[in-house]
Amino acid sequence: MTSDGAKPGAASVDTSVNVGGIQLRNPVLTASGTFGYGTEFAAFMDLRKIGGFVAKSLTLEPRSGNMPARIVETPSGMMNAIGIENVGVEAFIHEKLPQIPEEVPVVASVFGTDPEMYAETCRRLSDVPQIKGLEINASCPHVKSGGIEFGQNPKVLAELVRVTRKATSIPLLIKLSPNVTSVAEMAKVCEAEGADGISLINTVQALEVNIETRRPVLRNVLGGLSGPAIRPIALRMVWQAAQAVKIPICGIGGIATGEDAVKFLLCGATAVQVGTANYVNPKAAQEVAEGLVAYAQAQGVSALRDLIGALELPESG
């Protein structure tokens, strides 16, 4: 019954959605690794104007990440190989989380190098009231041990989902890798193992070269591509996953405006996550939420959830 971004006099729009048990005032989250621990944006936007945020992926112990260079710009995108630098699960719970306004739903992203490490991190996060759900990062394309293998092999993924599902009873989202032949197959694995939802896509594995030094720009050699460049790939994968499973989907990839978000909802996403756009415009997520409402008003849509999966396909001709 909320109506963020409503123009005075315009019809109010029901923006609330439920992502696998996570109740959100609107479908706009921010993507893991692009919103820090949520504290950094206070100067630029009102956290209560978005659905919530997904924190930087956490590991059991603090992690210091890869040697620089860690980022490079590419056409309409950027690549990163941060290496899951994070404060560790305990510091997150005790130092970062208390700084977030209570009414802001937080999804904790979890990373590990083996399933048991994932599971233990999940356990520690499961009893924290402000944490409304967990997102398993099964798809980091530039961490050497673990990471991408979980997201690229259906059997390994199944095991990871099974173990983390056992470790928690709060809503569990699995974040999938785009670096696979069939995202539908991976989505089905998650559904079968009891995940409450799917987030996709993580970054697309990529390489950039410095022709002066004749070396990879990133010290890690490979990195993950994000930003508007990958949006049409992400949309395709969200649509394919939505055809394959019934559990809700968080659409991610190059979202910078309300219009972009509408496309993901139409393709079957229940919510979206704004990533790289937060760097370019630190108020982007709030503007995406406002843009969704503006679209709904212009189109006479009374509840944003009516847009979910509403894509019309042409008669095959």
Binding site: G33, E40, A43, P68, R70, I71, V72, E73, N278, K283
Partner: protein, 278 residues
Amino acid sequence: MVASSEAALAGSPTRSDAEVVFNRDEGADNWRMRLRVPGWPRQTAPGQFAMLTPGGLTKLSSDPLLPRPMAVYRVFTEAGGAEVEFLYKVVGRGTTLLSQAEAGEVVGVVGPLGQGFSLPPSKGKAVLVAGGTGVASVYELAALACEKSEVWLLMGARSAADLGNLEDFEALPLNLEIATEDGSRGHRGLVTELMGAAGLDGEEKLTLYACGPTPMMRAVAKLAAERGQRCFVSLENPMACGFGVCLGCAAPRSDGGFSLVCRDGPVFDACEIDWENL
């Protein structure tokens, strides 16, 4: 909701589309741009920077995608904001687009960001070593420092033309010395060679500041360590966000681990940096 006193000092950053007041070519690809930035805080620490987006924060094109970090050169505070001046060199796509912004058009601004310079101790001596675009970072520092300390400003460039417009610096009560690689102005050679010439080699109560190309800063840091002098450097790592969330700008620390150049810097005590791996 109440800003902490620390935040108030450094100035809480703003994000806004700023109007270009002027943007002019000062020769040799050096440009000077002044922006009217609504919401810019009353206090900017010398050495802070901003992220600039040609075309504004909701620009039409997503290529180039990322904002560009630029040191705050000078600030003229006004009601509800400030006029903020930047000195920049056109080196690639982002700075080319920046140079095409005309008076009245908008440039996206997020800033002021980062930690600035600590001033030299009152009545102390300070030597500022600036090379290339590093000069933009030290004007506010020089202006503040020379109110209470004796300041040497050593400037280096490839040739006289690259030095750009030095009027602002010449108006300050400091000792300005210049080195050019081709000898077209001042000392012929590297700016670090002036550091001996200043006759301050042994001076322990001296604070060194270095801004410029990494090899130059590394050389200054090494000298400072040898002489036991305090030394601050301002690093220029590639950045995506500028405010501590992407973790892209990490600089290796001498004690292991990383500092974020945008959040913990860009100014660092030189001895904190792992110069080998930078």
